[in-house]
């Protein structure tokens, strides 16, 4: 994309027909970004028309950024697995839920500590987060060893992987129902959680800022891993072409194992943060599945920075839409943005142009 194409040269020797030229313009990432921004602007206008004030829309935008942090945490793992394994993992939502519930159980094994003000949680919550991430990573790895590796060995088509992942989604969800039951849970039930008063009347809880910061830190870490480390390079090589990667001496099975560990761990982090910002319920991951897929496609599959950017856009669109739409339609807003991306530029905002 950055390298100018010699064949295209100057406008004078552009041999393409006008229709082709128009299509080439539509398929650029700038055009996609402009259309997404246009949709956002339309949503703000619809909010104003529905009687929401400017300050209210500003507050919704801030909350949208916070929600975007939760979606981003879930979708970087999804995007990574999608990029390396090449199939949409429908059980990612269940892994998100599992992470939240595992940390919930771990937290209750630890002696409760004092609350880290202004945050609403104590040290035991952070320990539970750090424990839940590798646990869910290992669950994802175990599923890969039992199910997906067999499919890889038989050279199955990617649709069978997708179907197996749907089966695993229902498997994990029924396990969660069996172990923890269908009731809602809170990490800290009945505890007051005052919001910080920011300028312009924006009220945000310190927890939400923590979630957003964690999303940025983890995206930075994954970016660093992919760009700088040997493992990251091996992952990118496997994503590009597994056969060539093997010829160059990369143990692709090991790379895939690390991908599942990472993807599962990041899913757990997303689930814990989602549980912190609302409550724990067995369907929480399924609710998040559509926004997560939308973010990973809109950002460009396998691209963590793209997933973060897209998740923030989706989060804002989701919250702003509540000013004129029933809040339960959140997944539908994410879906519309995803279809728009697929129509304009299926590679997403930061994905590579050819593909």
């Amino acid at each position: 994309m950055a390298v100018p194409d010699i064949r295209r040269g100057t406008a004078a020797d552009d041999q393409r027909r006008p229709g082709e030229r128009l299509r080439a313009v539509i398929r650029t990432r700038v055009f996609l970004l402009v259309s997404l921004v246009a949709v956002l602007v339309a949503m703000y206008l619809a909010g104003l028309a529905a009687g929401a004030g400017g300050l209210r829309l500003l507050a919704l935008t801030a909350w949208g950024l916070m929600l975007g942090g939760v979606i981003a945490l879930g979708s970087i793992g999804l995007s990574l697995v999608y990029g390396v394994m090449k199939f949409p993992n429908f059980s990612h939502g269940a892994l998100v839920t599992l992470g939240a519930y595992v940390s919930f159980s771990v937290m209750h094994l630890l002696p409760p500590g004092s609350t880290l003000r202004p945050l609403s949680f104590g040290y035991e919550f952070l320990v539970a987060l750090v424990v839940a991430m590798p646990v869910v990573g290992l669950v994802a790895l175990a599923i890969d060893r039992v199910v997906y590796r067999r499919l890889r060995r038989t050279g199955a088509h990617l649709v069978f992987f997708a179907m197996a992942s749907l089966a695993m989604a229902f498997f994990l969800r029924s396990l969660i129902y069996l172990i923890w039951g269908p009731d809602f849970h809170f990490y800290y039930p009945g505890q007051a959680n005052p919001a910080l008063q920011l300028p312009l009347g924006i009220r945000i809880r310190a927890d939400q800022l923590f979630i957003l910061a964690l999303a940025f830190v983890l995206v930075g870490a994954v970016y660093g891993l992919l760009a700088r480390t040997r493992l990251g390079k091996a992952m990118r090589a496997t994503a590009d072409n597994p056969d060539l990667a093997q010829i160059r001496g990369i143990d692709t099975e090991r790379v895939i194992a690390w991908t599942w560990m990472l993807g599962g761990g990041l899913a757990a982090a997303g689930g814990v943060m989602y549980g912190l910002s609302s409550q724990l319920r067995p369907e929480m991951g399924f609710w998040l599945l559509l926004p997560m897929f939308a973010a990973s496609i809109m950002g460009g599959i396998g691209n963590p920075q793209g997933a973060l950017l897209a998740a923030l856009i989706i989060g804002i669109a989701h919250q702003v839409s509540t000013s004129f739409l029933d809040p339960t339609y959140g997944p539908a807003v994410a879906f519309v943005l995803m279809v728009l991306t697929l129509l304009i530029r299926p590679q997403g905002l930061l994905g590579r142009t050819e593909g």
Binding site: F170, F293, F335
Partner: protein
């Protein structure tokens, strides 16, 4: 044998006479007449020999299995023949059910209008409702298919899961459309008047004595007959279409897209056709379901029942084989119904592990069916009755059969 029991046996027999010719192995000439005779005899025999409780359980079981058979047929057109990964079956099922309900229902007036809000109630006959369900479902499929089917297979899976979720959200939230989160009640049932104390107006008086002893409790057997007839009709039409050049084109598009295009087939259009036809069959299944349960709401169209079970049925029965799809529907619905007994039997075991577990026994069923799908995908992806790679009925030998 009393008159009621004979009539019930006859209705069950007619239903079985529709179902058995589908399930018998193809080939012998006696398949269709033999299946019909066997079905009638079995229906009368069962009615004469089993207690009434078991009979109504069997009738309910076969009705749901046939409904799922129609869903599996629709999915088979999309996945088995064309390779579309539709994870939103529940959405088209819901659209069909609500469309047919709105077309046939009586618009509430007066006090009832405060409790039940509908966009319209046309009071049309049952068959018009079914037709409308197929049409609306097909239009929804067309709207989904045109932008998404140009893209990669996996994007269709994500998009259809999203469409199903949005359709469910619409029927959950929009009170004005179909009574919002409350159930939409009073969906009329075809031929119900035959079972009421004052028989139908169109029934000649000379025949009134036939249905006179029937009560409304016996209606389910009649509706099973209707559903089985639709399943047989749908099977015959789709099997015919898929054995025609159209079906061969779909398989060519699925297996060798480039060759199909090179031979002058419009690949995107073929994909859209298959997707829309499959969705129409699902819409018909939805309509039949709405008239079966009489009251529907959004929670009936959960991804587990609407999508996931249908996928297990098709994968177990055999994708690309319509007979397999229907066989899979009956088997998996049997497994699903059977695991209810299993969950009951497991209760003491679960109670020994943890006191709260018996209350969650229903999730053991989910666990088992999800493992069933995983096992089919891993160990027998072609299903019980694999697709027949047959080119011609008259070509025998290694390339034929």
């Amino acid at each position: 044998m009393s008159q009621v029991l004979f009539l019930k046996g006859l209705m069950l027999g007619i239903a079985l006479a529709f179902l058995l010719p589908i399930l018998l192995p193809p080939g012998p000439r006696w398949r269709v007449p033999g299946g019909i005779l066997l079905g009638l005899a079995a229906g009368l025999g069962i009615a004469a020999s089993v207690p009434p409780g078991y009979l109504s359980y069997l009738v309910g079981f076969l009705t749901m299995a046939s409904l799922y058979g129609l869903l599996a047929l629709g999915l088979n057109t999309q996945w088995g023949y064309t390779g579309h990964l539709n994870f939103g079956v529940a959405g088209f099922f819901a659209v069909g059910a609500f469309t047919s309900a709105l077309v046939t229902i009586e618009a509430p007036s007066g006090l009832a209008a405060q409790y039940t809000q509908v966009l319209f109630g046309l009071e049309m006959p049952f068959l018009v409702g079914v037709l409308a369900a197929a049409l609306v479902s097909g239009v929804v499929a067309l709207i989904v298919a045109v932008p998404v089917l140009r893209l990669r297979l996996d994007f269709l899976a994500i998009a259809t899961i999203g469409v199903a979720e949005i359709i469910r959200l619409v029927f959950q939230n929009e009170r004005w459309l179909a009574n919002g989160p409350q159930p939409l009640r009073g969906i009329p049932q075809p031929g119900r008047c035959l079972f009421e104390s004052r028989p139908c107006e169109w029934l000649p008086d000379s025949l009134a004595w036939v249905v006179e002893p029937l009560s409304t409790r016996d209606y389910t057997a009649f509706y099973l007959m209707v559903v089985a007839a639709f399943l047989a009709l749908g099977y015959a039409l789709i099997e015919r279409a898929c054995r025609s050049p159209w079906g061969r084109m779909l398989r060519a598009v699925r297996d060798e897209e480039a060759s199909a295009a090179m031979n002058g087939k419009n690949v995107p259009f073929a994909r859209i056709q298959a997707f829309v036809v499959g969705a129409m069959v699902m819409g018909v299944a939805g309509a039949l379901y709405a008239h079966y349960t009489v009251a529907i709401d959004y929670s009936h169209f959960h991804a587990l029942f609407g999508t996931f079970l249908v996928w297990i049925m098709l994968m177990l029965g055999g994708s690309g084989n319509h007979r397999g799809a229907i066989l899979g529907a009956i088997l998996v619905w049997g497994v699903w119904a059977g695991t209810a007994f299993l969950a009951n039997a497991l209760e003491p075991v679960l109670a020994a592990i943890h006191p709260e577990l018996p209350g969650r026994a229903q999730y053991v069923r989910w666990l088992l069916v999800s493992l069933l799908l995983a096992a089919v995908v891993l160990f027998r992806p072609q299903g019980l009755l694999p697709e027949e790679m047959r080119v011609s009925n008259y070509l025998r030998g290694p390339r034929g059969r």
